[in-house]
Symmetry: C2
Subunit: 271 residues, 2 copies
Amino acid sequence: MLECLVNGEISNFLAATNRGLNYADGLFETLVIRNGRPLRWQAHMDRLGAGCERLGMSMPPQAVLLREVQTVSTGLADAVVKIILTRDGRERGYMPEKDSTSTRIVSAHLFPVGAAEFAHNGVRTRICDLRLAIQPALGGIKHLSRLEQVMASAELRDKGAEEGILLDPEDHIISAVSANIFLVVENRLLTPRLDRCGVRGVVRAAILAGFAARCEQRRLLVDMFQEADEVFICNSVRGIVPVTAIDEREFEIGLVTRELQTWLQEGARMA
Amino acid sequence: MLECLVNGEISNFLAATNRGLNYADGLFETLVIRNGRPLRWQAHMDRLGAGCERLGMSMPPQAVLLREVQTVSTGLADAVVKIILTRDGRERGYMPEKDSTSTRIVSAHLFPVGAAEFAHNGVRTRICDLRLAIQPALGGIKHLSRLEQVMASAELRDKGAEEGILLDPEDHIISAVSANIFLVVENRLLTPRLDRCGVRGVVRAAILAGFAARCEQRRLLVDMFQEADEVFICNSVRGIVPVTAIDEREFEIGLVTRELQTWLQEGARMA
């Protein structure tokens, strides 16, 4: 971690009573700083706001968050900034207070090495044994309860896989462990609905908005991989990454994936 | 919070990079200090150890935890001590390191007022709209992902209810929001299986061990409340609490519940 602000003050520490720690009672965003400016800022703020509304948490003013993001990334051309928002409130007990304030933890991190290689060469994946639980009350938002992703990642570590595909208990494709997923089927872009689990990523949202006529959000059974011409995953930090294998099935890196990568990079340059 | 130790040092603060905060990657125990001594210590340690094994986390030596519990509760006759254990490891990224150490956060809190009245008078409950997700990978352990309980508690707050009953999506009874549940049906003690969601509480475990011949762990559909003569909930802090209402259905506080309360109190006195 390069620099961290807790409620606007330089600090690497937070209270042991913090409800984010005690109950995962909060949300987070991971965003990219490029040439000193946050990418897709408004999309991140929209998702954070939607999460606050779902959890009944108060959303800090965007201007305050932006100032803190700028402060921690001062002097950094490329970086990753993480915003954690936790609900303030009672020291013990699950019950949240109404209209409680939020604690802001804003930290800057080095941009991960190897992102460009991933995007160029693609990534081999495995389907994880762990299934994402169906919880419509939390589906789509980027809350702090990420134990499923931790356990799925432990599985990948033990199998020596780079990235994993997560299914729900009914064999629907949901996402990668730390990215959304698209299947290219006859030039159409199919991506799972995320109303019951998974996180609605901002790159996913950008693709859905930018290619609305070609996109479809639907339930996708795992068999659908057999019909896909291309598969790619996407998140804020790594952008669009081609999937070159899912277990034993190999995929070529296709033209549609390359087209979308170019489009996303152009968008970031112009932002 | 009265006193807090982080890895044995007096501190109310922990690192912003802590994986418990960032990913809910950890476990907790809430235990009661009575007459200066922790109640049901070994049962709490057994559950914590089972949780560590499930998550692939390292369990600190029990002697270390006991010393820290004793330190924070020095001079307190009655108190609640919370132990949080979080996985150490990489600053960013879900993937846990193999054989990483754990961070210990041990804090003492005032014993809540009103526990004796609750146990005597019972509690009125509502069935929560929020359903617990089915996640066998996490079922039974006391991990830090407690957003479901927070959301269920917000529901209770808005409805002015004291305690809530949680079902799974298939209409099975699982637990109260912060307690396990038993149904007394023709003198038998029925309690839900907690292999798919819920937390295996230490008072529940004590009852299952102490009344093995009368107990049954099974799937219980919500209709089963209609057949129950008595219903009670239990946790470490509040002990056994009679349920006097579930939505519109009223329950008498019965002899079996009172018998178990007496038995539990005797056990605590003799411990």
